[in-house]
C-alpha cells in the first residue's frame, strides 16, 4: 500500500511521517520559524513536568508540523517517548536529532544509552565510540563504551574503558559494580568479588550490585553465599524478576521441589516479561523437571519455552543457512584449494586450538580439560573466526561475499591474503583471551565453528581442530533445554536443531573429503566413560605432554562463560549419557532427519 501524506510515522513518534522520518529533502533547509514556537516549547516542557504527556505530545506535534527539524521540540519528544514508549520511537527521534547536531555529546551519549537498553549492542557501541571521539575525557562516554564492549563479547577492551572512567571520575557504586561484572565475565572472580565489596561499601542499596555479586559467587561455586546475596537483592526490590536465577541456584543445590515452586509461583506474575525471558523460565523449569524424572512435563516445558522464544522473534534462518552451506560446499573443492597460496610459517605467538561441535555436545568440557594444562589459556566462544569470514570481502577487496571472495587469493596482489586473515584472527583473539606468560596455546570453542573448517584449515593449517561428538539425539534434546542463539538460531525448535546439526555434519564430511585437516573427532561419551586414555589422546593430538591436572578439570577454577558452566564444575556424571532414551516419544519426529548422521557417527538409536 502506498503511504498516504497524513499517515503517522512508522517509527512510532506520533508525528506525521512527512514531518518525521519521511521528510522530503527540500524541507531540510532553514526556513523562518513562526513566532509562537518558543511559547509552545515552554508549555510542552511544563506539561511534561506535570506528567501531562498528552498535552506535551500534542504541542510537540504542532511545533514539528510547522518546523519538523526543531531540535528543542525533538528533544522534548524524546523525553516523552522515553516515558511513554515505544523505545524504538525514542531512538529514531534521537537519531534524527543526531543527524541535525552531530557534535552534540549529550545526544550521542543518550542515544548510545538507549540503544544499550534496547539490546542493540552493535549500534550502541558505534555511538559510544562517537561519544569517546567527541570527548575523550568524559567519563560517561567511557562508561557507555565499556558497557557496550562488555556486553558485546569484548570484555577485555571494556575493562580498559572502565579503568579510564575510574581515572576520570570519583568511583561510584554503579561503575564499580559494572566493572566487577566485566571481570566476572572474564572469569576473574576474585577481582570481581573485591570490587563488589567496594561497591556495596559505597552504596549498599543497589539491587543489581547484589544480584551481580550473587551470580559471581554462584560462578565461583559458593552457593550459600550466592543465596545470601540474592536474598539481599530481593529485599531491596521484591518485585524485581529474579526467579529464574533463584530457581537455578536452588536446583544446583539439589532443592528441586523448592526450585520448581519458585518458578511456578512466579509464572502468574510475569505476564509483562519479555518473551525470551519468560521462555527461559520455562526452559529452567523443564531442566528441573528432567532432573526429577518427570520427562513428559519437562519436554512440554521445553516446547513452551522455545515457542515463547520464537514468538520474541528468534527463529531459525533456514534459507540463509541452506544457502551459505551450499555455497561453502561449492567453493571448498580440492581442485580449487590447490591454487591457494599457503600462509607463510606460523608465528611464535600463542596459537589456537579449535574445539568445535554442536552446542551442548561437550565443547565446554573439552576446553576445561585442555585449559587445566599450564600451557593452554581458555578463550571460550570466540567470535573471531566468524568475524574474519565476514570480513573477507573487505580484507581482499572483493566484489564477492564469503566464501567466493576467497577467489581473490588467486590474484597476484592478494597472495598474502591468508596471512592477513590469520593475523586478523589472532589480533581479535588477543583482545578476548586472557593470555598469561607461559601460555603457548589458547582454545576457541565457538560452537558450530565447523562451518568455517575450510577457512580454519587455510589460515591455520597446523592448528588442531577437536570435533566434539555426542549422540545427535542427546545434542538436540539438550539444545531444546537451553536458550542458544548459535547456528542461525537453530535451537529455537526441535526440528530446526536437528536439521542444522545434520547439515553441519554433512558439511564437515565434505571438508574432510576435500582438504587435509588436522582434525580429531572426540566422543563426549568416551570422555565420560573412560577419561584418562581420552585425555591423553586429546593432549597428544594438540601436541602437549600428558598432565594429570587435566584429569581434575572439575577443580579448574576457571569459570566457563557458557550454558554449560555449572556442569563442568561437577565431576563427570553419566546421567548426561543417552538421556534421549527418556524422550523417545518426543524426539520421534526428528529421528528420520538425524538417522543418517546417527549411523555415520557410529551411534545407534
Amino acid at each position: 500500500m502506498q503511504p498516504q501524506p497524513n499517515d503517522a510515522c512508522d517509527c512510532g513518534s506520533g508525528v506525521r511521517a512527512q514531518r518525521c522520518c519521511r521528510q522530503p529533502g527540500h524541507m531540510l533547509g532553514n526556513t523562518a520559524l513562526p513566532s509562537w514556537i518558543p511559547d509552545h516549547i515552554g508549555r510542552a516542557v511544563d506539561a511534561l513536568d506535570r506528567c501531562d504527556t498528552d498535552t506535551a505530545h500534542r504541542l510537540c506535534v504542532e511545533i514539528l508540523e510547522a518546523a519538523p527539524n526543531h531540535v528543542d521540540a525533538l528533544k522534548v519528544l524524546v523525553c516523552l517517548l522515553q516515558a511513554t514508549g515505544p523505545m524504538t520511537a525514542a531512538i529514531a527521534v534521537l537519531q534524527r536529532i543526531q543527524r541535525l547536531t552531530p557534535d552534540d555529546l549529550a545526544v550521542t551519549q543518550e542515544l548510545s544509552g538507549l540503544l544499550l537498553r534496547a539490546g542493540r549492542l552493535r549500534e550502541a557501541e558505534v555511538q559510544a565510540r562517537n561519544a569517546v571521539r567527541l570527548s575523550p575525557d568524559d567519563p560517561m562516554s567511557h562508561t557507555l563504551l565499556a558497557m557496550s564492549l562488555t556486553d558485546n563479547h569484548q570484555p577485555q577492551a571494556g575493562e580498559f574503558h572502565y579503568r579510564r572512567v575510574l581515572e576520570l571520575a570519583r568511583p561510584d557504586a554503579i561503575t564499580i559494580a559494572n566493572f566487577a561484572w566485566n571481570l566476572k565475565l572474564q572469569g576473574r572472580l576474585a577481582e570481581a568479588r573485591r570490587l563488589y565489596e567496594r561497591a556495596v561499601a559505597l552504596d549498599p542499596a543497589v539491587l543489581l550490585t547484589w544480584l551481580g555479586w550473587a551470580q559471581t559467587e554462584e560462578a565461583g561455586r559458593d552457593l550459600p553465599r550466592a543465596s545470601r546475596f540474592l536474598a539481599r537483592a530481593r529485599c531491596l526490590d521484591p518485585s524485581h524478576d529474579t526467579h529464574i536465577f533463584q530457581a537455578a541456584l536452588l536446583a544446583r543445590q539439589g532443592a528441586l521441589d523448592d526450585a520448581l515452586a519458585v518458578l511456578e509461583g512466579a509464572s502468574g506474575q510475569s505476564a509483562d516479561v519479555a518473551g525470551d525471558v519468560a521462555g527461559n523460565g520455562w526452559l529452567e523449569r523443564g531442566r528441573i523437571l528432567d532432573r526429577m524424572g518427570r520427562h513428559d512435563e519437562a519436554f512440554e516445558a521445553f516446547t513452551t519455552g522455545k515457542a515463547m522464544i520464537r514468538e520474541s522473534g528468534r527463529r531459525y534462518a533456514d534459507q540463509e543457512a541452506a544457502d551459505l552451506f551450499a555455497r561453502l560446499a561449492n567453493f571448498f573443492i580440492a581442485d580449487r584449494l590447490k591454487l591457494l597460496p599457503p600462509p607463510a610459517a606460523t608465528l611464535t605467538s600463542p596459537q589456537p586450538i579449535f574445539v568445535t561441535g554442536a552446542p551442548r555436545s561437550g565443547t565446554t568440557l573439552v576446553e576445561q580439560i585442555l585449559s587445566a594444562h599450564p600451557a593452554v589459556a581458555a578463550g571460550d566462544e570466540l567470535p573471531a573466526m566468524a568475524a574474519v569470514a565476514a570480513g573477507v570481502t573487505q580484507t581482499l577487496g572483493s566484489p564477492l561475499a564469503y566464501p567466493e571472495a576467497l577467489s581473490e587469493l588467486w590474484m597476484g596482489d592478494q597472495r598474502d591474503g591468508l596471512e592477513r586473515m590469520r593475523d586478523d584472527y589472532l589480533r581479535r583473539a588477543r583482545r578476548l583471551v586472557p593470555l598469561s606468560p607461559g601460555k603457548s596455546l589458547f582454545t576457541d570453542k565457538m560452537p558450530f565453528n565447523e562451518l568455517h573448517l575450510g577457512l580454519i584449515a587455510l589460515t591455520f593449517p597446523s592448528a588442531p581442530v577437536v570435533h566434539v561428538l555426542r549422540h545427535p539425539l542427546d545434542v538436540v534434546l539438550s539444545m531444546m533445554s537451553h536458550d542458544l542463539t548459535h547456528g542461525f538460531n537453530c535451537a529455537s525448535s526441535l526440528e530446526s536443531a536437528a536439521r542444522h546439526c545434520g547439515r553441519m555434519l554433512d558439511l564437515v564430511a565434505h571438508y574432510r573429503r576435500e582438504m587435509p585437516l588436522r582434525y580429531l573427532p572426540l566422543r563426549y561419551e568416551d570422555l565420560v566413560q573412560d577419561l584418562e586414555p581420552n585425555v591423553r589422546r586429546l593432549l597428544g593430538f594438540v601436541g602437549l605432554g600428558f598432565d594429570r591436572r587435566c584429569l581434575r578439570f572439575d577443580e579448574n577454577r576457571r569459570y566457563a562463560r557458557t550454558a554449560s558452566y555449572a556442569q563442568v564444575t561437577e565431576k563427570l556424571y553419566s546421567r548426561s549419557l543417552y538421556r534421549y532414551r527418556n524422550y523417545m516419544r518426543h524426539l520421534k519426529p526428528v529421528i528420520p532427519l538425524l538417522e543418517p548422521a546417527i549411523h555415520s557417527l557410529g551411534y545407534e538409536i
Partner: protein
C-alpha cells in the same frame, strides 16, 4: 571372469520366439544388453516358461548388473528343466561373484557332469575353485578346458593364474601370454603401428640384444604392474640400450628413475621407428624368471628430496609429533575386474583405527576417498588424497611414513619398490603374484602379506596387521 554361454541349439516352438532369441543373441554379441532385453521381453511374452529363453534373459540381467534377477531366472529355468547346463554354469559364476563359493562349485560340477564336452563348464568351475583356493583342482579343470578348446584364451589365462600362484612360473609365463587375446583386451600396440612402413608387422621381442633405441616396451596393465615389472628395465637396457617406452604420463616419475627409462612416449603418433616390441608385464617370461631369480636385491625407486621435504613439513603441520604414521589405502580402481574381492571399506580398517599412538595417513584416491568424511576412529586420520597430484607426491609421502598398510593396489608396489615397510591385505584367493600361504614375498622383501582367513572376511587380516604394530605409548 566366466562368460555366460547361451544354448547352441534352440528348440523353439514358434518362429517368432526364435526370431527374437536370435536378435537378442546378436545384441549381446554387440555388447548391447539393453536392446537384448527388449527383444527377449517380446520373446518371453510368447513363451514365458521356456528354459532356453530364461537362460538368455538371466545372462542379460547379469550383464545389466542385476545379479539377483539373473539368479532367479536361472533357478526358474532349472525348475522347468533340471538338466540345463547353461543355468548351472551361469549360477556358478553368479554365486562366485557373490562369494558364495561352495554353491558356485556345486553348480559348476553339475554343469561339468551334464555336458562334459563343454570347455566353458570346466572354465567356470576352475575359476570358482581358484577363488576357493583349491588350486590343484582349479589347475586340472583349466587344463581340461584348454584341452577341449585349445584356441580359447580364457582357460589359458586362468591356467596361467593357477600356475603362477602356485609358483610354477616357467609354464605360467607361457600361458600368461594368452592375456592379450582375451575378449575385450586391446592389443598392447595398435596393429597399425606394428604394421606401419613394413611388409610384415614388427615382431614381439625374443630377448636377444638389439641396437640402441630399436626396442619398444609397452608399460601395460595397471600402475602396480608397471611398478613391479619396472625392475626389469635395467636388464633390458643392458641388452637393448635406451628402449622406447610407451606409458601413461602417471608412470613417468617411476620409469625415469631406472636405467633405460629415459625415452618415454605418451602418444603412439610421437613414437620413433622401432624393430620389435614387448609388454613390460611379459618381461619376467622373457628373462625366464623363477622364484629364485626374481630381481629384488635392492630398492629401485627413491623419492625426490624436495618432495620428501615438502611432505614432511606438511605432515608435521597436520599431525602431532610422536605418533606412528601409517599410510593407508583401502580401495583400488573400481573398474578392475577383481575389485570386489581386493577392495574393502575404510570402516573395515577399524582395528588399526582403534590403536593409540598411531596416526593414519590416507593416500586413497578416487571415489573411495569420500569415506574419510565419515571416519570417526580413535587414531587421527589425515586425508592427503586431495593434495596428491602424482606418484612423485606419493613417493615423497611414503618416504616419511613408518609403514604403509593397504589392499592390493599400486601403493603397495610403490612402497615395496622403495624398500619401505608395507603390509598388504590380500583377498582369500589373491592375485598370482602373492603366491600361496607365504607371509612374505620374493618380489618385495619389505612387504608383509596378510591374507583373508575366510573368503570375503577382512577382520582377521586387519587385526593381524594391527597387532604387529608397536607404536610408542
Amino acid at each position: 571372469m566366466g562368460p555366460f554361454i547361451l544354448p547352441q541349439t534352440a528348440p523353439f516352438r514358434r518362429p517368432e520366439e526364435r526370431h527374437f532369441a536370435v536378435l537378442a543373441d546378436r545384441h549381446m554379441e554387440q555388447g548391447r544388453p539393453d536392446a537384448a532385453e527388449r527383444a527377449l521381453d517380446r520373446a518371453m511374452a510368447l513363451a514365458p516358461a521356456d528354459p532356453a529363453l530364461l537362460c538368455r534373459a538371466a545372462a542379460v540381467s547379469a550383464a545389466l548388473g542385476r545379479p539377483e534377477q539373473a539368479a532367479a531366472r536361472f533357478c526358474r529355468a532349472l525348475q522347468l528343466a533340471c538338466d540345463q547346463a547353461t543355468a548351472h554354469l551361469g549360477l556358478c559364476e553368479l554365486r562366485r561373484r557373490q562369494s558364495r563359493l561352495d554353491e558356485a562349485v556345486a553348480h559348476g560340477r553339475v554343469a561339468v557332469m551334464l555336458e562334459p564336452s563343454r570347455p566353458d563348464s570346466y572354465y567356470n568351475l576352475g575359476i570358482a575353485l581358484y577363488d576357493r583356493l583349491d588350486i590343484g583342482q582349479a589347475t586340472a579343470c583349466e587344463r581340461k578346458a584348454v584341452h577341449l578348446a585349445p584356441e580359447s584364451p580364457g582357460p589359458h589365462f586362468e591356467l596361467a593364474e593357477c600356475l603362477l600362484l602356485s609358483g610354477q612360473l616357467e609354464e605360467g609365463w607361457r600361458e600368461y601370454e594368452w592375456r592379450f587375446r582375451l575378449p575385450g583386451v586391446p592389443s598392447p600396440v595398435p596393429p597399425t603401428i606394428l604394421a606401419a612402413d613394413r611388409s610384415d608387422p614388427r615382431p614381439q621381442w625374443d630377448g636377444r640384444p638389439m641396437p640402441p633405441g630399436r626396442l619398444l616396451l609397452v608399460a601395460d596393465q595397471g600402475f602396480g604392474d608397471v611398478i613391479q615389472f619396472a625392475r626389469y628395465l635395467p636388464l633390458v637396457h643392458a641388452l637393448c640400450p635406451d628402449p622406447l617406452i610407451a606409458c601413461s604420463p602417471d608412470m613417468a616419475p617411476i620409469l625415469r628413475q631406472l636405467p633405460g627409462g629415459r625415452r618415454l612416449y605418451q602418444d603412439w603418433n610421437d613414437l620413433p621407428d622401432f624393430d620389435a616390441w614387448h609388454a613390460l608385464s611379459g618381461l619376467p617370461g622373457v628373462f625366464g624368471t623363477t622364484l629364485e631369480t626374481i630381481p629384488a636385491a635392492t630398492a629401485y625407486l627413491q623419492a625426490d628430496p624436495r618432495k620428501i621435504d615438502h611432505w614432511r613439513r606438511r605432515l608435521d603441520e597436520l599431525l602431532p609429533k610422536g605418533l606412528m604414521r601409517i599410510g593407508i589405502v583401502w580401495a583400488g580402481r573400481s573398474t578392475h575386474g577383481n575389485d570386489h574381492n581386493r577392495s574393502m571399506r575404510l570402516a573395515q580398517l577399524a582395528p588399526l583405527a582403534a590403536l593409540d599412538g598411531v596416526a593414519l595417513v590416507s593416500l586413497q584416491k578416487g571415489p573411495a576417498q569420500a569415506e574419510v568424511g565419515t571416519y570417526f576412529g580413535r587414531a587421527p586420520l589425515v586425508n592427503l588424497g586431495p593434495e596428491i597430484t602424482d606418484f612423485a607426491d606419493t613417493m615423497g609421502i611414503v618416504h616419511g611414513l613408518a609403514r604403509v598398510v593397504g589392499v592390493d593396489t599400486a601403493l603397495i608396489h610403490l612402497a615395496g619398490a622403495m624398500g619401505r615397510p608395507a603390509s598388504v591385505l590380500l583377498p582369500y584367493a589373491p592375485d598370482w603374484r602373492w603366491l600361496l600361504k607365504r607371509g612374505t614375498t620374493p618380489w618385495y622383501p619389505t612387504v608383509t602379506l596378510h591374507r583373508q582367513h575366510k573368503p570375503g572376511r577382512w577382520d582377521d587380516a586387519v587385526r593381524e596387521v594391527a597387532s604387529g604394530l608397536h607404536p610408542k605409548r
